[in-house]
Subunit: 151 residues, 2 copies
DNA sequence: GCTAGATCGTTAGCACGGCTAACAATGTCG
DNA sequence: CGACATTGTTAGCCGTGCTAACGATCTAGC
């Protein structure tokens, strides 16, 4: 019956993670609003800033979103002047997304603003708990990658 | 400089948690779609099913959402026959949200379906990692509660 | 008892995020 | 050169979230 117990554990854990993800994002949304950057835009901008110029399709795959959705997000970022489109010279179908210097600045500022709430909460944690939470975040990330590979 | 290091840790951790939350929800959305229940609806339904009859305002606060948003979500659940509104006899302003039996069934089925992906990923984890991830989820939940109390 | 204010929920209207279907433009290969 | 594949965009739908404004109801205070 130990496998039955594992299933129950997995179900309970999935529920906790699901609920935590929803509520965390709803909290962070408020801060994101202050910077004018929603979570999906911030996330995409982060990829562009740290991942260098990237095609729209790559960005869509990285963000696990369909191309039309990414077109929409990039258009928003472009109108805000945080990103610019540039056609590839060798392959006319591709459009490469570049971060502008404003985009880099806004990303850094947005990260700082976004983390304020979390940071003040994190500072109430002991060193042990901080390490444990870090470990949990790493495991969660690996879990998501594993889900992605499994389709 | 140790406090500076804590800040950097907090920033990096916040980024990881933010990114993980986004990508986890995007994955789970696909499963949620299969059951016809989006993440916010599933989350709200869960509160109604396990938290007994609840007023719309309580539900909105529990889900950290403004009343008009919750009105919309509840309307969707009601149209799907998962929930029903009932006026309070003592206070005519209140509307209590009750789960229907169909709502209970659908919630359970949705949870199972939703957890399939995660469960198969979780089963690739060792017992130690499972415990660590569970601890991380618990800490994350406490962190969110702490953020909520701090506004 | 009645009026003034507070509270609760809804409606209206906006912006964004996500999807599918359909299309145009470009590359590639037989 | 022509058929096919790939890339990105457009159009159109629905769900989520907000604020502003409103109607209905309760509660105080006079």
């Amino acid at each position: 019956m130990t496998s039955r117990k594992r299933e129950r554990d997995a179900l309970a854990l999935a529920d906790q993670l699901h609920s935590a993800a929803i509520h965390l994002l709803r909290h962070l949304r408020k801060e994101d609003d202050a910077s004018g950057l929603s979570a999906p835009r911030l996330s995409a901008l982060s990829v562009v800033v740290f991942g260098g110029p990237v095609t729209l399709g790559q960005l869509a795959r990285a963000e696990q979103v369909k191309p039309p959705t990414m077109t929409h997000i990039v258009t928003g970022l472009e109108k805000a002047g945080l990103v610019r489109r540039e056609g590839d010279e060798r392959d006319g179908r591709l459009t490469r997304i570049h971060a502008t210097s404003k985009g880099q600045k806004v990303l850094v500022a947005g990260r700082a603003r976004r983390v304020e709430l979390l940071a003040s909460a994190v500072e109430r944690l002991g060193a042990t708990e901080l390490a444990e939470l870090g470990r949990g975040a790493q495991l969660l990330k690996e879990l998501i990658d594993s889900m992605r590979r499994a389709q």
